[in-house]
C-alpha cells in the first residue's frame, strides 16, 4: 500500500547497505524479532480470538444461555439487517473524510502563515500547536460545555447577540459538531508535519521558480504543493489511523446520538460490548470494523497517491 511511498529505502540505498550487511543473520533477527513477536502477540492473537467469538452467540450477562456456535449469523445480521451498523459505516466515512479534509486544509493554511518570518513566530506556533496536547476527553468537555451548549455556550451567546436563531449544535448538527471538535485537535498535527515540509524545502527551488515568474498562487500550485505531496500523504495516512479510532470525543460530546446520528463503527462496537454485553455481535462488528478500516485506508491512500503522482509528473 502506501508504505511504498514513504521512507522505505529504495533499491539504491539498499545496495549501499548491502555492503555492511552482516553474514550473521541471527543478529538481524535478534534485534527485529522481539518487537515483531510482541506486536503479534498483543494485536494479532486477540484478533484471532475475536474471530472465534464472532461465530458464537455469547451474551455476557446471561451465562445460562451458554455460548452456542452460530456460524455467520452475527455477520449476516450486521450486514443485511442492522441498519444502525450500516448507518455507522456511512457516518464513520463522512466524519473521517471531513475531519481529515478540514484539519488538512486548516493545517496547510496555518503552516503557510507560520512559514514566514515575523515578530513572535515562536509564541504563535506554540499557541497553534496547543490543541494537539489536549486530551480528547478534555477537548470534548470544553467544546460541549463552553461552546456548543445551547443554554450557556459561547456560540449561543454569539448567535443571540447577533439576533440569530438559537442553535442546539450537538442536537441539530451532531456530525459536524464532532468534526469541528476533532478538527480543532488534529489541525496542529497536520500543521506540524506540513510546516516541517515547507521548512525543509530548499530556497533555491523557490528562487528558481520566482525567476521563472511563478508567484503567489502559481508558485504555490506548481512548486509548493507538489513538493509537499509526500508530507500531505503522511498527514492523511497518520490522520486516518487515528481518526478512524475516534472515540473519546463521541463518548463525551454526543454519546453516539442524538438517535444514532453520530454513532461511528468504533462507537457502535463499544456500545454493543459495553452497554449491551453482546460479545458475539461485538466481535463480529469488530471484525467488520477491521475490514472496513483496511478498505478505507488502502482505498483512500491509493487514490491519493495516484493523484499526486500524476500531479507531479
Amino acid at each position: 500500500m502506501s508504505a511504498s511511498t514513504i521512507s522505505v529505502p529504495d533499491a539504491a540505498s539498499s545496495s549501499v547497505t548491502g555492503r555492511i550487511r552482516s553474514p550473521r543473520i541471527p543478529a538481524r533477527l535478534l534485534l527485529l524479532l522481539p518487537a515483531i513477536i510482541y506486536l503479534a502477540v498483543l494485536t494479532q492473537a486477540p484478533f484471532i480470538l475475536t474471530l472465534w467469538y464472532s461465530v458464537h452467540k455469547w451474551i455476557l450477562d446471561q451465562p445460562d444461555l451458554g455460548r452456542p456456535w452460530v456460524g455467520i449469523e452475527n455477520f449476516k445480521y450486521a450486514i443485511t439487517q442492522d441498519t444502525v451498523f450500516q448507518q455507522a459505516v456511512l457516518t464513520t466515512l463522512i466524519i473521517t473524510v471531513l475531519i481529515i479534509a478540514v484539519s488538512l486544509l486548516l493545517g496547510l493554511g496555518f503552516a503557510l502563515l507560520l512559514n514566514r518570518k515575523f515578530f513572535g513566530r515562536g509564541v504563535v506556533r506554540a499557541l497553534m500547536i496547543a490543541p494537539f496536547f489536549v486530551m480528547p476527553t478534555v477537548n470534548a468537555v470544553v467544546w460541549k460545555n463552553f461552546f456548543l451548549d445551547p443554554i450557556i455556550g459561547l456560540f449561543d451567546w454569539l448567535l443571540t447577540s447577533l439576533h440569530l436563531a438559537r442553535v442546539d449544535f450537538l442536537t441539530s448538527y451532531p456530525k459536524l459538531s464532532i468534526v469541528a471538535i476533532a478538527s480543532w485537535q488534529w489541525t496542529p498535527f497536520m500543521m506540524l508535519i506540513l510546516l516541517a515540509g515547507l521548512q525543509g524545502m530548499s530556497e533555491e527551488v523557490r528562487e528558481a521558480a520566482r525567476i521563472d515568474g511563478a508567484a503567489g498562487w502559481a508558485e504555490f500550485r506548481h512548486i509548493t504543493l507538489p513538493l509537499l505531496a509526500r508530507y500531505i500523504e503522511l498527514c492523511i495516512l497518520l490522520g486516518t489511523i487515528y481518526v478512524l479510532n475516534l472515540f473519546g470525543e463521541i463518548r463525551v460530546a454526543t454519546q453516539g446520538g442524538p438517535g444514532t446520528e453520530s454513532t461511528t463503527v468504533p462507537y457502535y462496537v463499544y456500545q454493543t460490548i459495553h452497554d449491551y454485553n453482546d460479545v458475539g455481535s461485538a466481535a463480529a462488528l469488530g471484525v467488520l470494523a477491521v475490514v472496513f478500516a483496511s478498505l478505507i485506508a488502502a482505498g483512500l491512500l491509493r487514490l491519493l497517491v495516484r493523484t499526486f503522482r500524476e500531479g507531479q509528473a
Partner: protein, 455 residues
C-alpha cells in the same frame, strides 16, 4: 550539538532506568495491612456525600475505602461486566431494584441473610432491618432473601416553578393529569425568554429517558410486552404514550433535550429555565438547596401525572449497595454495608449537611423524624408515592414481568438502551416517531427471539 548530546543522554538514561525499573512498581499496589474496599458508585449527590464522610468509617473500623465514581449508564455497564466475568474489580457495587433480583438469581451478588443472622442481638437491633421501607425491601429481595441494602430510595413526582405558575395565573393540582401538564407546558413555554414549558429526560439509556417514559407508557395503559412477550412498541396505547412524551418534549421541552439526563434536567430546572419537571423525588433536596438552585424557594410539588390509570404512573427505585460474589473482602464489605445504610449514618449526614440532605426514602424512621419533616415539607408526597408504587402491578393489563419503570428481565438493559437511543433521534429531528418505533420494534423482536422468549 551539545543540546543534541544532552537530549540523547537523557533518552539513554530513561531507557536504562526502564531496564532496572522494578516491575513491582508497575503493578497495582498490593494490599497493605489495612483492607481497602473498592466500591463502584453512581455520581449522584447522595453518593458524593457518602464519600465525604467515609473517613468516619475508616476511623471506626480501620478499613480503607476507594470509590470508583461513574455515571449511571457507566456504573451499570462496568459492574455488569465485572460481575458477569467474575472480574472482582469491586467489592461493593451500587445497584438498583432492577439488577438485584436478576443478579441474585445468577449468584453474582451475595445473599445477606446469613450475614444478618451472624450479627449480635445488639447489632441487629441497632441496624433494625424492619425499619427499611417494605416496598424497597421487597424490591431488593430474591426468593425471600435480602441481597442488597438501600442507600436511598425514590419514586417520581412533579416539581414546578411557583413564580412562573403564579405569573401565568395557573394552579398546579396535587394530582395532575398528563393532559393538564401538556396544557400548562404549552402556556408556559417561552423560548424567547429561555423558559421551557417542561423539563424531561431525553438522553438515551433505559435508566435515563427510559424511566420517565415507561411511567408514561404505564399510565396510558400500555406496556413494553404483552403476555406472550410480543413487543408493543408499534401498538396503541404504548405507541401513543411514546409519541405523546416525545412531542411534549420536542415542542415545549428544554433546549438540548436529546442530551439531557437527570443532571442536565436538574441544571435547567434549578437555573429557572423550566416551568415544570417530572422526575425523581430525590431531586427535591437539590432544587430546594439555595446554594445550588436559583429557584430554591419557588419549587412546588405534586404527584406524578396520570392518564388512563394511576398504576405505574410513578416509579420505585432504590440505589443500594450489594456485595459482589467475586469480591475479596466480604466481612469488611458487610461492615461497610451496615454502616452506610444505618440510622447512625443518616444522623451523621444530618449533623454535617442538615436534615434536608439526608439520603431519603429508605427508612420509616427518617420519614417520621420531625426534623426531617420540617426540612423536607414534601415528605408526605414522597412517602405516599413510594408506598403506592407496586412493581408487581404496574400496568393496566396483565404482563409477564415485574418492574414499574423497567422490565425485570436481563435483556431489558439492551432493549431499553437501544429503544431510547432511537427515540432521542426523534428529539433532534433526525428521524420520525414512526420510523424510530418501527426500527425499535424490529430490534427488540430480534433480541427477544435470540433469547428464546419468542419463537
Amino acid at each position: 550539538m551539545s543540546v543534541q548530546r544532552m537530549v540523547t543522554r537523557c533518552a539513554l538514561v530513561a531507557m536504562c532506568a526502564g531496564l532496572i525499573f522494578p516491575a513491582q512498581a508497575l503493578r497495582a499496589a498490593p494490599a497493605h495491612a489495612a483492607v481497602t474496599l473498592t466500591i463502584a458508585t453512581v455520581d449522584n449527590p447522595q453518593m458524593l456525600d457518602m464519600e465525604g464522610v467515609t473517613s468516619d468509617f475508616t476511623k471506626k473500623y480501620g478499613i480503607n475505602v476507594k470509590y470508583v465514581t461513574l455515571t449511571e449508564n457507566d456504573v451499570r455497564a462496568k459492574v455488569t461486566t465485572d460481575v458477569a466475568t467474575g472480574g472482582g474489580q469491586f467489592d461493593l457495587a451500587t445497584v438498583g431494584t432492577y439488577e438485584v433480583p436478576i443478579w441474585a438469581k445468577k449468584n453474582w451478588v451475595v445473599n445477606l441473610d446469613p450475614y444478618f443472622s451472624g450479627l449480635s442481638a445488639a447489632a441487629a437491633a441497632a441496624y433494625d432491618k424492619s425499619d427499611l421501607l417494605p416496598k424497597v425491601r421487597l424490591g431488593l429481595s430474591y426468593n425471600g432473601h435480602l441481597y442488597a441494602l438501600p442507600f436511598y430510595g425514590e419514586s417520581s413526582f412533579t416539581m414546578y416553578n411557583k413564580s412562573i405558575f403564579k405569573a401565568a395565573g395557573l394552579t398546579m393540582p396535587l394530582h395532575p393529569t398528563w393532559d393538564q401538564i401538556a396544557v400548562f407546558a404549552k402556556k408556559l413555554s417561552n423560548p424567547g425568554k429561555g423558559t421551557a414549558g417542561i423539563v424531561l429526560r431525553g438522553t438515551p439509556g433505559w435508566g435515563e429517558m427510559g424511566a420517565p417514559l415507561t411511567t408514561v407508557i404505564n399510565t396510558f395503559g400500555g406496556s413494553w410486552f404483552d403476555m406472550s412477550w410480543k413487543p408493543q412498541l408499534t401498538t396503541s396505547p404504548t405507541k401513543d404514550a411514546i409519541a405523546f412524551y416525545l412531542n411534549l418534549l420536542k415542542s415545549y421541552g428544554e433546549p438540548g433535550a436529546a442530551n439531557a439526563g437527570f443532571t442536565e434536567s436538574e441544571r435547567a430546572f434549578s437555573q429557572g429555565k423550566g416551568a415544570m419537571w417530572v422526575d425523581a423525588t430525590s431531586a427535591a433536596g437539590l432544587v430546594t438547596d439555595a446554594s445550588q438552585s436559583k429557584v430554591a424557594s419557588q419549587v412546588g410539588f405534586a404527584f406524578s401525572p396520570t392518564k388512563a390509570t394511576p398504576k405505574g404512573s410513578h416509579w420505585l427505585w432504590a440505589w443500594s449497595l450489594a456485595m459482589e460474589s467475586s469480591g475479596k473482602h466480604k466481612a469488611e464489605a458487610f461492615k461497610f454495608l451496615q454502616w452506610a445504610t444505618s440510622k447512625d449514618y443518616i444522623k451523621l449526614i444530618a449533623a454535617k449537611k442538615g436534615w434536608g440532605n439526608v439520603p431519603p426514602g429508605t427508612r420509616l424512621s427518617t420519614f417520621n423524624n420531625p426534623s426531617y419533616q420540617q426540612a423536607a415539607p414534601y415528605w408526605k408526597i414522597i412517602l405516599d408515592s413510594m408506598n403506592t408504587a407496586d412493581p408487581t402491578n404496574a400496568t393496566l393489563h396483565k404482563v409477564p414481568y415485574v418492574g414499574v419503570q423497567f422490565v425485570g428481565i436481563p435483556e431489558f438493559q439492551q432493549i431499553g438502551d437501544r429503544v431510547t437511543q432511537n427515540l432521542s433521534g426523534v428529539l433532534s429531528g433526525g428521524t420520525t416517531v414512526d420510523a424510530a418505533l418501527t426500527l425499535s420494534q424490529n430490534q427488540v423482536t430480534r433480541i427477544m427471539t435470540q433469547s428464546g422468549y419468542l419463537k
